[in-house]
C-alpha cells in the first residue's frame, strides 16, 4: 500500500451504503424494465468504487491492473455465448 495517496474511505463507505439503500427501494418499482438500467449502473459503480479505492487499484502499481483486467476481458465471450448464442439453441 502506497502511503502517498490516502483515499477518503468514509466517503466511499457512505456512497456504498446509500446506494445499497436506494437500490433496495428501486427494486420495488414495477415493471422490471424500468428498474433494470438503474440497478445495473448502481451495481457497476459500487463494484468499481470497491475495486479502485478499497482495493487500491487506482493508487497501486499498474501491474496489478494489468493482471486483473484480462480476467474481466475473458468473461466477455463467455457472456456472449451464454446469453446470446445458447438461448438461440435451446
Amino acid at each position: 500500500m502506497k502511503t502517498t495517496n490516502r483515499p477518503n474511505y468514509l466517503l466511499v463507505f457512505i456512497i456504498l451504503s446509500a446506494s445499497t439503500l436506494i437500490e433496495t427501494l428501486v427494486s420495488y418499482v414495477q415493471p422490471a424494465p424500468i428498474r433494470l438500467p438503474v440497478l445495473i449502473v448502481a451495481s457497476a459503480v459500487k463494484a468499481l468504487l470497491v475495486l479502485l479505492f478499497f482495493m487500491h487499484l487506482k493508487f497501486d502499481s499498474k501491474i496489478f491492473t494489468y493482471l486483473f483486467v484480462p480476467g474481466c476481458v475473458l468473461v466477455i465471450p463467455l457472456i456472449l455465448i451464454i446469453m446470446v448464442v445458447m438461448p438461440l439453441i435451446v
Binding site: F13, S17, E23, T24, K46, A47
Partner: protein, 195 residues
C-alpha cells in the same frame, strides 16, 4: 561468470510477490463467479416466471441488511489496513479484524436464515431456480467462511509475528480477498434479488 548488477530495477518490489499472486488469483475468480452468475441468469431468462416462482419468495429487506453488513465489513478491513499501514496501530487493527469476523459470521447467519425460509417454502435444490441459486450463493458463502477463518488466523498469528507499519502484507492480501468477495455479493444482490 556473469552476475546480475545489484542496481537492476525490478518492476515490482520483491515483498509484493504474494500480492501479485493474489491479483492473479482474483482474476481467475472473476471468470469462475461470472460463469456461475451467467448460469443463474440463463436459467432465469429461459425458464418459467422468475417473479412469481422465485423472486416473490426472497426477502429483499433481509438481504439488503446483509449486503450493508458485508459492505461495512469491507470498510472495516480498510480501516484495519489504515491503522497498521499508516499509523502502525496494532491494537486498533486487531479490533477492526475482530469486528470483520463478527460481521462475516452475522452475514453467514443471515444467509442460513434465508435458506431455511426458502426450504420452508418448498424451494429446494431440485427446483428450477433453487439449484442455481443455492449453488451460486453457497459458493459465495463458502468464500465468506474462508475469509472469516483467514481473519481468525491473522488475529492468532499476529501474537507470534506482529504486523508493523512496514510489514503488513498479510493484512493487505486478506483485504484484497475480502473486498473481492464483497464485490461478488454486490453483483449477486443485484442479479438475484433486485432486478
Amino acid at each position: 561468470m556473469s552476475s546480475v548488477p545489484a542496481s537492476s530495477p525490478a518492476p515490482i518490489a520483491q515483498r509484493e510477490n504474494t500480492k501479485l499472486g493474489m491479483w492473479i488469483f482474483l482474476g481467475g475468480e472473476v471468470v469462475f463467479f461470472v460463469t456461475l452468475i451467467l448460469t443463474f441468469t440463463f436459467v432465469r431468462v429461459t425458464q418459467g416466471n422468475y417473479e412469481a416462482e422465485f423472486r416473490s419468495y426472497l426477502s429483499i429487506p433481509l438481504i439488503g441488511i446483509n449486503t450493508f453488513i458485508l459492505v461495512t465489513s469491507s470498510f472495516l478491513v480498510v480501516r484495519a489496513l489504515e491503522a497498521i499501514g499508516y499509523r502502525g496501530d496494532q491494537k486498533r487493527m486487531r479490533y477492526y479484524l475482530l469486528a470483520v469476523i463478527v460481521l462475516g459470521l452475522i452475514f453467514l447467519g443471515g444467509q442460513a436464515f434465508e435458506w431455511s425460509i426458502l426450504f420452508g417454502d418448498g424451494i429446494d435444490y431440485s427446483s428450477t431456480y433453487g439449484s442455481p441459486f443455492y449453488t451460486v450463493t453457497g459458493i459465495h458463502a463458502t468464500h465468506v467462511f474462508i475469509g472469516v477463518v483467514w481473519a481468525i488466523y491473522l488475529l492468532l498469528s499476529h501474537h507470534r509475528h506482529p504486523y508493523t507499519k512496514e510489514h503488513h502484507l498479510g493484512i493487505e492480501n486478506f483485504g484484497l480477498y475480502w473486498h473481492f468477495v464483497d464485490i461478488v455479493w454486490i453483483v449477486l444482490f443485484t442479479v438475484i434479488y433486485l432486478v
